[in-house]
């Protein structure tokens, strides 16, 4: 399937089915409503086959390169048809589960996720293991037929809507760092799992803190090897930073275009406004170009690694620059205005502050670039 033909056919289908696919709400809906619509869009794409390309046949897909998935998410984000953060979860989690789960397990569990019938979440960070993820302490102990998990996770998105959770646990000695971590695919309705939402500063409750009290996980839910969980975590990063970033780049492009339209319509812009817009757009184009190169490497079967930290730093800069420009140019809108448009700018502006924190902080990314790409030797 040629990407260009796929994009054209997909675009025609999205246009033809706009009535069904356009969200039944304007602006920001409640999480319940936006998740329901997300599932509807996902299911419609699956039934029309567009949502099956780029996934292997072993999990109900129709094959083809991940470029096809990148195109689907891009077009969804360009048209603002579904919650962008919900859309990212599948790209973050499904490819790695396919890589590491026993084939019969992924054949059974992944298809409902791809169809949009299920949602999955991620249990990686802990209150005391943020940037230093390898120090995590949520413990999995062996028991008859499986494992017993005890501990805490934080920043888990969408757990309220999720059926499964990709979980990192400590299975080695407490100080075994990245050598003693094991990954599991856990059912969220397992007895002993409880969670409480975290209210965020942008007004959405995307996150939760999760408690595991004697949670039994069957032995066949292990991902990869015992004490091989770090490889699973590292396998996720390149997927997260290729397809998912490409999708978010499309969202930033759309919002940049919105800003241009709004500023142009106001008719009131000086050289400084043009410069701020030019700089924001330039950062988005730099990111998208880099991300396209990364997408093509992934599609060619190359192993992506630490060089994707460059993509992460570029998209973070682009996102924060764009929404700072929006705040400057739409003077007072973010601070004072009512209405859906203002609410969207306000939410996006505030959410952009998280961009240099989630998925590895801006500082951690620069440490990686310095150590691994510039080969500057160990830090003091």
């Amino acid at each position: 399937m040629e990407p260009e033909i796929f994009r054209r056919d997909l675009g025609a289908w999205l246009d033809a089915n706009a009535d069904e696919l356009t969200p039944p709400y304007e602006g920001l809906a409640s999480m319940d409503v936006s998740m329901e619509h997300y599932s509807r869009v996902k299911r419609a794409l699956y039934d029309a086959d567009f949502g099956r390309y780029g996934w292997p046949e072993s999990v109900g897909g129709l094959g083809g390169t991940p470029l096809l998935r990148a195109i689907v998410g891009e077009e969804i984000n360009f048209r603002d048809l579904a919650d962008p953060n919900a859309w990212t979860m599948i790209e973050v989690l499904a490819p790695t589960v396919i890589d590491f789960a026993p084939p019969e397990l992924s054949a059974r569990l992944v298809p409902p996720f791809i169809r949009g019938d299920e949602m999955w979440c991620q249990g990686f960070s802990e209150p005391d293991a943020g940037s230093d993820l390898a120090s995590l302490s949520c413990r999995a102990a062996k028991t008859d037929g499986g494992w017993v998990v005890n501990g805490q996770k934080i920043w888990t998105s969408f757990i309220e809507y999720s059926q499964r959770c990709v979980l990192l646990t400590r299975t080695g000695e407490p100080d075994s760092a990245h050598r003693g971590i094991t990954a599991f695919l856990v059912d969220v309705d397992s007895p002993g799992i409880s969670y409480s939402p975290i209210e965020t500063m942008h007004g959405r409750t995307d996150f939760a803190e999760v408690q595991f009290d004697d949670v039994f996980v069957p032995a066949d839910r292990i991902l990869g090897e015992e004490n091989g969980g770090w490889q699973v975590a590292m396998d996720i990063l390149p997927y997260e930073r290729s397809t998912t970033f490409w999708h978010r780049g499309a969202l930033l492009h759309r919002r940049c275009s919105d800003l241009i339209t709004q500023v142009a319509a106001s008719g009131d812009h000086d050289t400084a406004a043009a410069k701020a817009i030019g700089q924001a757009f330039q950062s988005i184009v730099a990111f998208r170009s880099r991300s396209r190169d990364t997408q093509h490497q992934l599609a060619a079967g190359q192993q992506l690694g630490v060089e994707t930290s460059v993509d992460k730093i570029l998209i973070t800069s682009a996102e924060q620059q764009l929404f700072e420009a929006a705040r400057d140019l739409l003077l007072g809108v973010i601070e004072f205005d009512e209405g859906l448009t203002a609410a969207q700018w306000r939410t996006d502006y505030l959410y952009s502050k998280a961009a240099s924190i989630y998925g590895g902080t801006a500082e951690i990314q620069r440490n990686i670039v310095a150590r691994r790409l510039l080969d500057l030797g160990p830090e003091a």
């Binding site: 470029l67 319509a265 396209r292 730093i313 620069r366 440490n367 670039v369 790409l373 500057l376």
Partner: protein, 333 residues
Amino acid sequence: MSEFIEADDMALLAASFEAVMAEAPGPGEADQALFDLGWAELLAAAPGPAAAMVFSALGATGSAATLLDDVVAHALGMPISPDVCVLLPASLHAERAAPQSDEPRIFNQEEPLEISGLVSSRIDRAATVVTVWDKESGPEFTSFEAGFLRNRGATGVDPAHAYRHLSVRVAAHFLTPLEAEATWETAVAAARVALAHQLIGGARWMLAEARQHALDRVQFGRPVASFQSIRHKLAESLVQIEGAASVAGACVHDPDPMLAALAKSLAGQAALTTAAHTQQVLAGMGFTAEHRFHLWLKRMLVIDTLFGSASSLPTEIGQDLLTRGTAPRLIQL
């Protein structure tokens, strides 16, 4: 023909071009040696990949060869020759000098014409000058003999490169109108992409110097490369370079003028950021004339200014976007 030049062949060619650039004592010798090596044929056969490879090498070696004149001439469908020099009109090379009024740029045909703009050091050797008038009806091309402009004008911050500003009056009957096969916009785009590659090549050279110095220089009993503030400066430089290099690379197959402007702007920003960080990491050594860093810093200042700078281009791009009222999708999978 571009499809027939394989990546391996390009790498081999790049090595030969870099060797010639490194050896030539001055821009005249460099131009001659590069023409002997087949620069004109390569540019004619595969303009995009040729400019990318050769201008990256110019940036990496610090060569003062004046090949930009050829890129512009070729983009306009004019002959590629070391005897042809291009005068870049002041109104088209930098926003600062853009015409502020509607005054016609061409005067009464009976009177001498005032020509103002930038020329490379090729003016000291070339036979013919090609330039463009920014007329109300659109750009108009003209040529005249170069002889009387030799060795004139101040050479500025980068005497080795010797781009200089000239302002002269030429009698109208000395001018020969030229038919260009392409628009001035096409030539500007080609020049911007070539210069973007030169800026990126220069930035990579500076970053490599900074990196090596940081590893070698010991203070407080350890290499300064072990300090996070220095690591992050160099990391930031690499990220900007890679972002710019990706866009410049995309231009090789996509002649969109806005993409070319973006590539030049990003590359200028990456080069200036890298220069500032390199200066700081080299510290006292970077302030001496003994270390070659200052040659690159000065070259980057000049290259950044030609055909729109990292400071002026975002405004130009932003104004274009505001006129369109929407952001074009420039990068497709």
